[in-house]
């Protein structure tokens, strides 16, 4: 029987990233994937004949440029097209457009509030400041505050040094930014309802929190951190859909001699003498390796891949308590043509970006109240894009594909999900868009509706949580996934974690995969192939 150097369980983008860095260091690596396609939630699938969908993740902004460069993903076929602007429609027929051109953007804000136009400059500058500071933490392993090891102390010293590059006043503002609600944070800058709502949306995507929940201001950063063409904070589409991201990493992996096995579902990790020695597949086959890396979320890794007898009882409890409540849904729609939005001027470029239909903080917060009571939002927040405007390869000529991300959608609709409830959820979303686009409903050829139930069943995201674990203070940095386990090493020797359940968390970022590879290579005494962050220049 062949003995690999490393086995990666799950061919999501983090698993592939992890595998590629290991293979690049000369290790013999195999990636085992249960589906017949790679990518996990970073995939392009044909759900309707001739239409290709990014049916889970749908925009590319967080992917670390350092990884893109280190793995030469451009050469492996990944092309990211920057996305233009965004728009929030108002209930009174007006709209707020967001433009890249600073003077145009300022003029647009001034149309809603002159005071806010001035504040917008201050806000953008502050936000970029926090982005730059946080970005430096992404490609690093969090230090353990309870440890006395020199490495942890040095890492803390590094973080403090970065922190102290700020002025005293900025330090407090940074702490406030990290602990405030997005609504209250923004209210310090802006007065106009639509502007407040426009900026707040990004902070609740994927979270089980509302715009007035402390801790959401920081989530905005998680979405503003994207780095396309060097512009901090901009978003992009992967040509060919998100599957192109996985395909490019997969291609890089193979170019370094890696092996991918699809339809190879791992049943459990084999532990002997407190050491992981390999995995057992659903088929009964055993695969052995020096290192076993799980790209599944922390709940699945410890509660289903591992035997409770092989790990400390305390860890089982931590895994059971790990917060991974899904809160988002998705509707993927095949369209016969481009929907019209009469509120926008003819030929407006704003349909090219993200479209939103929630124009007040109160509507956003009420959408959250529904979720708290196990209901989908009656008036949901949607983040809608039509990527076929950039990338006609994803649909037949003249036809379009629309991706609608929906916040909030509960893990269990009151009394449990049924197909009828799932369709009712889809209808609530379609109706909301229909209110702003009279020809939209007639253009629909096919709609795929995904609640957390579908996300869990198909992609393997527990409870349908897109970040593989909520991004709250108890599950960030040295607490992610659990205190004492934040350095990508599992509870038994030779076992590692590389999923988004680990620092720095979810989004198609690749950072957990790369960070985990760095720790594995360190333990195996191999040369580090993972990149350092680019820094501020």
């Amino acid at each position: 029987m062949k003995n690999y150097d490393a086995i990666i369980i799950g061919a999501g983008h983090n698993g592939l990233t992890n595998a590629t860095f290991l293979a690049k260091a000369g290790l013999d690596v195999v990636v085992l994937e249960k589906n017949d396609y790679i990518g996990g939630a970073t995939a392009s699938l044909e759900l309707h004949k001739d239409w290709k969908y990014s049916n889970c993740s749908y925009v590319c902004s967080l992917f670390r440029p350092e990884i893109y460069q280190a793995l030469d993903l451009g050469r492996h076929g990944l092309e990211v097209v920057p996305l233009q602007g965004s728009v929030t429609f108002k209930q009174n027929g007006d709209y707020l457009g967001s433009y890249h051109q600073p003077t145009v953007w300022r003029r647009e804000v001034a149309r809603h509030s002159k005071r806010d136009a001035d504040a917008a400059i201050r806000f953008d500058a502050d936000l970029m400041k926090w982005c730059r500071l946080i970005r430096g933490f992404l490609l690093r392993t969090p230090p353990d505050p309870a440890s006395f090891k020199i490495r942890d102390a040095m890492e803390f010293a590094y973080l403090l040094k970065r922190f102290y590059s700020l002025s005293e006043s900025q330090i407090y503002e940074f702490i406030r930014f990290f602990t405030m609600s997005i609504a209250e944070y923004l209210e310090q800058y802006f007065e106009s309802d639509v502007i407040l709502a426009h900026f707040s949306g990004g902070s609740i995507i994927g979270t089980g929190l509302g715009v007035y929940s402390p801790g959401t201001a920081y989530v905005l950063l998680h979405h503003a951190m994207g780095d396309v063409d060097g512009n901090v904070g901009s978003w992009g589409f992967a040509r060919g859909g998100m599957g192109s991201v996985s395909a490019a990493i997969g291609s890089a992996f193979k170019s370094h001699g890696g092996e991918i096995r699809t339809r190879a579902e791992v049943q459990n990790i084999i532990v002997k003498g407190r050491k992981a020695i390999g995995v057992r597949l659903a088929s009964g086959e055993q695969v052995h390796a020096k290192a076993v890396v799980s790209n599944l979320d922390a709940k699945r890794t410890f509660l289903s891949l591992m035997d409770a007898n092989d790990i400390p009882a305390e860890l089982v409890k931590r895994a059971e308590n790990f917060k991974i409540r899904g809160s988002s849904g998705k509707v993927n729609i095949a369209l016969d043509g481009l929907p019209e939005f009469p509120a926008l001027p003819k030929g407006s470029p704003l349909t090219l970006g993200h479209m939103h239909f929630t124009d007040t903080l109160e509507r956003l917060e009420r959408a959250y109240d529904d979720w708290k009571d196990d209901r989908w939002s009656q008036d949901p927040y949607v983040d809608m894009v039509i990527p076929t405007q950039y990338d006609p390869t994803m649909a037949p000529p003249g036809k379009h594909m629309m991706s609608v991300f929906v916040q909030y959608c509960p893990v269990e609709a009151d009394g449990g999900w049924t197909d009828a409830k799932r369709d009712a959820f889809g209808t609530a979303v379609i109706d909301q868009i229909g209110d702003y686009s009279p020809n939209f409903k007639d253009l629909i050829l096919h709609a795929e509706i995904r609640t957390p139930r579908e996300l869990e069943a198909e992609v393997g995201l527990t409870e349908g949580n897109i970040f593989q674990g909520e991004l709250t203070l108890d599950q960030l940095m040295f607490n992610r996934p659990f205190p004492g386990y934040a350095q990508y090493r599992g509870p038994v020797k030779n076992m590692y974690m590389c999923s988004s359940s680990n620092h720095p968390g979810g989004g198609v970022m690749g950072a957990p995969g790369a960070n985990s590879a760095r720790e594995i290579l360190r333990d195996l005494g191999k040369t580090d192939t993972t990149p350092e962050d680019f820094g501020d220049d």
């Binding site: 505050p145 005293e168 006043s169 407090y172 503002e173 602990t179 209250e184 402390p214 203070l473 108890d474």
Partner: protein, 519 residues
Amino acid sequence: MTKPNSVVIIGGGHNGLICGTYLAKAGYKVQVLEARDNVGGGASTASFADGYRTSGLAHVLYGLNAKVCKDLKLNIANLASAPPVDTISLQLDGDHVTLARDEVSANSLSSKDVQAYRAFKQEFRGYAKALQPLMMNAPPRLKDMDKKDKLTLAKLGWSLRFGLGTNSMREFLRVGGINIYDVLNEVFDSPSLKGAIAVDAVLGQHMGPRTPNTVLTYLQRLWGETQAVQSIPVGGMGKVSEILETAAIEAGVAIRTGAKVAKILVENGRSQGVVLQSGERIDASIVVSNTDAKTTFIDLVGASQLDAMFCHRVNSVRQNGDVAKLHFALSELPIFSGLSPSQLGQRLIIAPDMRYVEHAFNHSKYGEYSENPVVEITIPSIGDSSLTPAGHHVMSVSATFAPYQLKEGWQTQSRDAFVQRVIQTIEHYAPGFSATLVATELLTPVDIEDQYNTAGGHWHHGELSIDQSFMMRPVHGSAQYLTPIDGLYLCGAAAHPGGGITGVPGHNAAQRILAMGGT
């Protein structure tokens, strides 16, 4: 001419009195100026109907600081005659949950929950105790620290690392910044027990159980528990203030009531004294404000004396209250289903489960009062017959949520409607209660603002959330009891560590002023 070492304290609430007493004992010439006719502020006993008296605002004493009591030799023996009270969370089915310091009881509780409660209280009280070095000192600055700041940080680090130990420290760092809802769901099964604990994490705040920061609020309450037992003082909370007043006078503090300050005099960035509403000018080398941040800086100092960004921060302080106080004069003792007469004298709460509390909170986010409010009830006349005419009783109620900025405004109609909501809520648990009503008083946060001179009518003079705590309380640039104005200090609940009848802000402010050498 300003006399050296002359101090004026604005506001004769408990923190003002405590700060003044410390300073007077150190040889300062201290004058406390109180706008109302009596000192005590939120800790007062007031008459609300002919022949009926009760605690005006605060009505349960739970965290009066042990060091303050010892330092000032407060004669709390008088108060000790009020026995410690438990908290009883009322349930519609009569299976009430009784929470004592480490014990909990109810018929339906599993032994697992009973044991978990003991372990939970001890663990969390441990976290609260570990924060002691931070609580009893000026919060350290995070840059340009002085020796004292470094010492405080070192003590705090030591206390977290070695006081708690590896596991507890890790657990504290995990839960410290999150919500009580998730924590309680991890620890307990019983919905009624979870609801009862959640109340202590949200009361006085604009927060529901699911709001991150509620663990911090709960820890502040538990820290109080490490200082003094929970009690309902005989004679009302005004008794506490009387003791503080006596101590202050004995130390040489001059107290003037009915003296409302209209302006803090500032020349060349230094405070010179105050001007009263009457026009009288009082010079002092040090001015200490016991009032909230907005009142102090915007109303009394004035924006023209301050940096624009600083004013912006003060104006952004969230200090709108969410708790209404109600006083009911009763012709007889109400009968609560399933409660014995001796249990009636305890602290009663209505918050049957966490969902109830969260739903109550939902309304306040949109400027509405709770359809089904969370209610905290005491009947102080049970232990103190002097408060009412013979045979009659008085019920003191904190009802939440009742937002300061009610969408429809607190006019007669909304006031009456809210009082009815509270009465009906109590009536569910005490049938026949409404028939015993003789008189009613409602203090909304707007009334509290007017009557107690605190902008927004907030219990803590500002939300106790992380972004408004420690070195950011009330705002950074004024967090170590200092202000941008030389010679002007803060000593009230607006300053670290916040509200409650603890005396700690007053104590810390006095230490700070003494450490500054009296300038």
